[in-house]
Amino acid sequence: MQEGLAFTPQLSASGIAQWLWLVPAVPVVASGITALLKQPRRKLASGLAIGSLAFSLVLSLVAFVHVLTGWSHGYAVREVVNFTWIQAGTANVDLGWVLDPLSAVMLVMVTFVGLLIFIYSTGYMAEDENYTRFFCFLSLFAGAMLGVVIANSILLLFMSWELVGLTSYLLIGFWYQRPSAAAAAKKAFLTTRVGDIFFLLGIVWLFAQTGTLLFYDHGEGSLEPLALGGLLVHHSGWGLTAAGAIGLLIFAGAAGKSGQLPLHVWLPDAMEGPTPVSALIHAATMVAAGVYLIARVYPLMSAGMPAVKFGYGATPALAVVTWVGAATAVFAALIAVAQNDIKRILAYSTVSQLGYMMAGLGAGGVAVGMFHLITHAFFKALLFMGAGSVIHGAHEEQDVRKMGGLSKFMPVTFVTYAIGMLALCGFPLLFSGFWSKDAILEAESLWHPSHGPFYLLVFGALLTAFYMTRQVCYVFFGEYRGHGHAHESPRVMTVPLAILAFFAIALSAIGTPAWPWFRAFLSDHAAALDFHGFAEPGLVMLMATSTIVVLIGLGIGWWLYGNKSPRAQEPDALEQKIPTVWGWLRDRLYVDELYGATVIAFYYWWARVADWLDRKVWGGMVSDITLLFRGWAHLNRFLDTNVVDGGFDKGCEEIATSGGLLARVQNGRGQTYLRLLALAVVILAAILIWSGRG
């Protein structure tokens, strides 16, 4: 909550900002080239993908350093490059990109994590016959995601957003021969589409209200004070300003992409895709796009925020974001407790952590939510890639009950996985997850409207520590219960794990209360090193609380599952204690069944009605009309064959016959022609003489 001097804005685009479009464009081009390659060109395909993303990473780092330099000199860097795409009358469709701290941080994260996952994929997918296709999709995904990040136009953002959705569909359904993968891909696509409809409505409304698609346009963009003022004056009913209502519509889109309640159902099923995809798309980057979107339109969401003396206020839109986020965090964490698929546990944990990010955004602002986004991206990518390594090592086994004791066989995976797990649990002091989660909890505890989200999130933290301990105990401790002989993964897979593990710890440095560098960077204030940050009594209490909660979670988990190596057939330790609740949680709180019974049942019913309408009403009309036209056609055919054709045939015959007769005259002998000529002259003379008489 420290207020530094506001920085002078810097808006003119520098060289790097001019060339920022290359960051998404290069992977997209690489993907296009890969698409044209023949299947056996595996090395070239992965080389292209990795090379292009490495190029993007370098460019992103240059951009980041540029923003950093500006920031350290006291400039609020926000460089925009806009251009008109389509001009129709007076309305312009503008596109553009923006380089500011938010996009710079996100660019570096996406390209860096993405690059590690690309490298990891060369090991994980080495046996797959559709290796080139995989890298083609991965590059396209990276390009689209980077497009979302740099977009300065909500339309460009939406186009990239949909491309991201498309590549997500392609990658979840990568093993489309499996019916479950195809179904999961379809489910993901359709569920996110529900949110996107609202998002599109929000875009249209925003465009109608402000007359511009650009976020920042030298004072005329939709996120700048002028437009926001206009949006606040306009009321849309239910006590919402236009800004709030548009914000909520956009949040619906973000909720779809980021797996918030009630649109979270697709994310766990998306684990049908290859594990690197789960790590890249459904843990680190794509699902973060929703959070990033909210961070991007945060000025819109927070417009008209009531002033509060201490802590954080809320607009209706942000209150919704906070509550939905907190509810999602607990809901998903509860379900994660009772899952047995290693990736599914991580998927629910991702949903839960995305809830944390949303709650952080809603209550504490951009920096709080984004910090958790960045740290989460690293440790969740680490966890997923670790899970991939485990699956690889345990011969494609995904059920945690059939693993166990892997710490002996896979030491590198175990150590890195443990680091990721502790970061996710928010183990005190050392791990980045602790600081980012703490920042969110702090924001919630100071949130003005209610303390409800705070308690929910603390409970969520307890559950997180518990289910992660359960998973780690199942996978790495006890005896090996799987088939075959478990083995460590190749180096191309473990090295990225180690790098990510390093960052899962190292990232704590930029977000501790003593040196809130990240927050200062995102909100254009100077960062100061101040160890008194630790000494605030409220903060100490909070850190103590979260430490205790995490330790309780870890303790219960160890007490129930540690070193016990239960058999697969045996009921779960928790199931023995509370069988009813366990059943609910194992069946994912019946959300899928609920949707099956309501939304999908309604669609089936509606489809049947439509089918009936089609068959009986429209079908009847169409067949009647068809009959009419068929009768008409029959009449026409009769007329054609008997009248038109007959007459025509006769005429043709006559012409042919007379032609034949005349042809006999033209026999090529000059004398015959001369004879005819003489005859004609005689006849002519006769006529002349005859007429001369009268």
Partner: protein, 104 residues
Amino acid sequence: MASPLSGYLLVAALIFAIGLAGALTRRNAILVLIGIELMLNAANLNLIAFWRYGPHPEALTGMMFAIFSIAVAAAEAAVGLGLVISIHRHTQTTDLEQMNRMKG
């Protein structure tokens, strides 16, 4: 039959008929050409006769006509003979019965 014109016309008609008959019946191209020349000269005779016994015998119109006609006939005969010679070179015959390629 007092006017000598009728006599000239009769002679001309006779020559024309002989020429026509020759042109239609002969199979030798040269003889056909001769027949055509006869017909032409019959026409020339008519021209001269109509001029001499016409309303203005003092104007030299008919004479000029005939001279032109003879000049054209000479040119035509030259062309015709040329054609016959070239056909003969080509087919080694002047028999018209065998020259039947002038058809579509």
